[in-house]
């Protein structure tokens, strides 16, 4: 599944570690999501969406 996590993070000038801290996950988890190696669970996807104040479908795209 494609996602805009890296772009959204860049727009806020956050490092992967900073984003990981805000989501209470490891930096490796953020890296794996950004590179498409790991699809987040629904609860984590909702946390990401709430953090960026965006609907989930504007961050994650299952048709790309």
């Amino acid at each position: 599944m494609k996602n805009r996590l890296k772009v959204l993070r860049a727009m806020r000038d956050w490092s992967q570690a900073e984003l990981a801290g805000r989501l209470d996950v490891s930096r490796q988890a953020v890296n794996a999501i950004e590179t498409g190696k790991h699809d987040p669970s629904l609860p984590l996807a909702f946390r990401i969406a709430r953090l960026f104040e965006m609907p989930i479908e504007e961050i994650f795209d299952d048709e790309a």
Partner: protein, 216 residues
Amino acid sequence: MTKPDSDDFAMEPSDGAVLLKRAGLGIGGGIALIFIAGMIAGYTSGALERGGPDLVDGAILAGMVLLAALVAFGIWRFWPQTVEEPVAPRVRSARRLFAVAIAIGLPLGFLLGVTDEGTGVLLSNAPVSAGIAAIAIVLWLIAGPLITWLWWQKIDEHEAGAYREGALVAAHAYIFITPIWWMASRAGWLPPQEPMLVLLAVTVLWSVVWFVRRYF
């Protein structure tokens, strides 16, 4: 412009590569330093038996000390550095539990090693005293499951996925290795099955899959 991350540059090594390099440098350099220390101790002892180190002995010993210093400098010089990063509370807790597991496991391994009566076999089946057996069993029965459960509660979903995938591969390896060895042993092609050896192989496989999925 965003702050740099380990994956922002194509040439930047992965977390796994950095960990492997550290392990290689730490283990290899450590063994080299222990070896050189042994050489220095042995040579000094020999020199003392000959009536004390003379000028040549002193030069040779100085050379060995210089070699040890060079190895130590090499370890420091080539040790992969990473930027200090903030760590999520969940990750910090998981790391603490991992450290506790090592703090319990190392003395247990040391205890089993020193009480093993010189069989020299990895995972020996030699008899042990009731006291040692009781300590080991209590640790495996209570501390092992408890720490594993607490750790499982703390890891994030990415690591849990890596751990689950490792477990799946390990379980499949176990259900294939065990009957193959059992049948081959009954046919006289292999010695009787060693359950602890199978456990070790399966655990190593589990750890390798977890490591690769987590860090690469």
